[in-house]
Amino acid sequence: MLSTRKLGLGLLSVAVSAPFLYMVSVSLMGESELLRWPPPLLPQKPTFGNYAAALAALPYAKVFLNTAILAGCVMVGQVLTSAAAGYAFARMRFPGRDGIFAAFLATLMLPAMLLVIPRFLLVNAVGWVDTYPGLISTELVSVLGIVLMRQSFLMLPRDVEEAARLDGAGEWTLFWRVMLPLARPAVITLALLAFMDQWRNFLWPLIVTRSADMAVAEVALAQFHSTYSGNWPYQMAAAVLVTLPVWLVCLIGQRYLMQGWRITGAAVRL
């Protein structure tokens, strides 16, 4: 009984991580190795040449910078707007609160495609196509982030808030110096989720950016794919390079990510 379960566990681990191991493995192969039959699983002579070549072909520094700017700005923006809105929804009483929250939730029903065109027209009208503001501005608020923050603020005890009021804290101080630090785990979770979501954002950057100078990770990788479609080791090296930052972030923040699931659910973007 126990051994079957352990076997299942092992199988699952291998099945889940195999494509990634393979990705790294192929990225170390020579260009012609994959042409043999049967195709090898491991490189004969591991080489880092593909990485050097991919780094040269993919303007990695530029792409990395663009994606980092996008993900960083959106992370800060989403944390601030979600925390403020979630705080109001969770800890304040005002007429229409529940109705407005329901309206916020209702926007989740709008498919991305519906919004993409008018958003593009809007961004185009202000002349932001192919600029950082155009790339970033539409992503600055996340309704799921608001739900997450609201939830975590709901769970905080009333006592500390009231103690701070008696200590003479104003509304802003209360939020910024007391409540936000108390909700720190949720803030970190949201920041990580926002960062990773933006690192993997594809549709919007594809539409709103034009020049190679503005390409972000996913778009650049897709372009790399169509340019070097035959050369798999190249592409795999590029894929590893593009994914590496997210893997690192994930490794560091795994604990917080697991926590985020409690509320946000499966919001895998495909």
Binding site: E162, A163, L166
Partner: protein, 354 residues
Amino acid sequence: MASVTLRRLSKVFDGGVQALHHLDLDVRDGELLVLLGPSGSGKTTVLRCIAGLEEPTTGEVVIGERVVTHDSPAERDVAMVFQSQALYPYLTVRENIAFPLEMRGLAHAQATRRVLETATRLGLQSVLDRLPSQLSEGERQRAALGRAIVRGPQVFLLDEPLARLDAPLRIELRAEVLALHRAIAATMIYVTHDQAEAMTMGQRIAVLHEGRLRQVGTPEEVYQRPADVHVARFFGTPGMNVLQGRGRAGDKGRVIEAGSLVIPVELSTYEGELQLGIRPEYVGLCAVDQGVGNVDVLVVEPLGSETLVHLNAGGQPLVARLPGFADVRVGTRVGVKVDRRRLYLFDAAGAPVA
């Protein structure tokens, strides 16, 4: 320091629950008043109305000479110690104590000095740079006290500050709070549901029951001369026995019948339903038919210095408190004696009868 006056204070919560009914209360300048009541009696609501955390539905809150009913908590210059301590978990003890000073824009040097003074007074010097999670329960409660006293507010509000502590620590800290009160001569309102604590701490005790103020007086007054049956029941361990009975004219003058007891009472003006109160220490046992009635022994609790005997007096519970180990057997039938000078009589609504 300042007095606190509540005038006709009422609070109705959003759900329609009326927590307070027309409360009038004067807390004198420099006094330690204990607000006592069972849970759900509204004592915490009173405290929160004074602090400004709740807005009363009607009535006024006056601190010193100032009507503060609609002021924000920050404007009232009151400090509050919470049962949960409510320390900022991400700040050190030093920062926690300094927080109210910082909020009031006190100069840094002055704030540092005051924090140090307060910490010294409470014996917290050695843990100033620790986080609340690294403190013992007692140290945490001291830190919470420190945060309250550091800015020298007009009024201290303490909301069951010791309820979560274990017994020895509670007794230790109770003494410390009393010493603190003497040292800074502050106006303190201390909320508790523990009547023993109330008796030991309060200069005066205000008893709340179901949102109404039943009695305000010294510990002796509320124990000896309870204003109504609720107050009477609340004090003492165990509380007063209250038997439902009626007065009538008997063979040898007037008597009160309560369960299986028939007690002769000098009662000229009242006949009909009433409630008879006897403290357990004034209930004695004797042989069958020798006392004012016969009862069945249900449970015997020997506690060492005394023995509690739970009795069934014709369907009504009665507790007797006997000194030392008493030789009473469960299931036997015994007679009951009562000290007739120590009887309390209340009418059906609970108000005392002459």
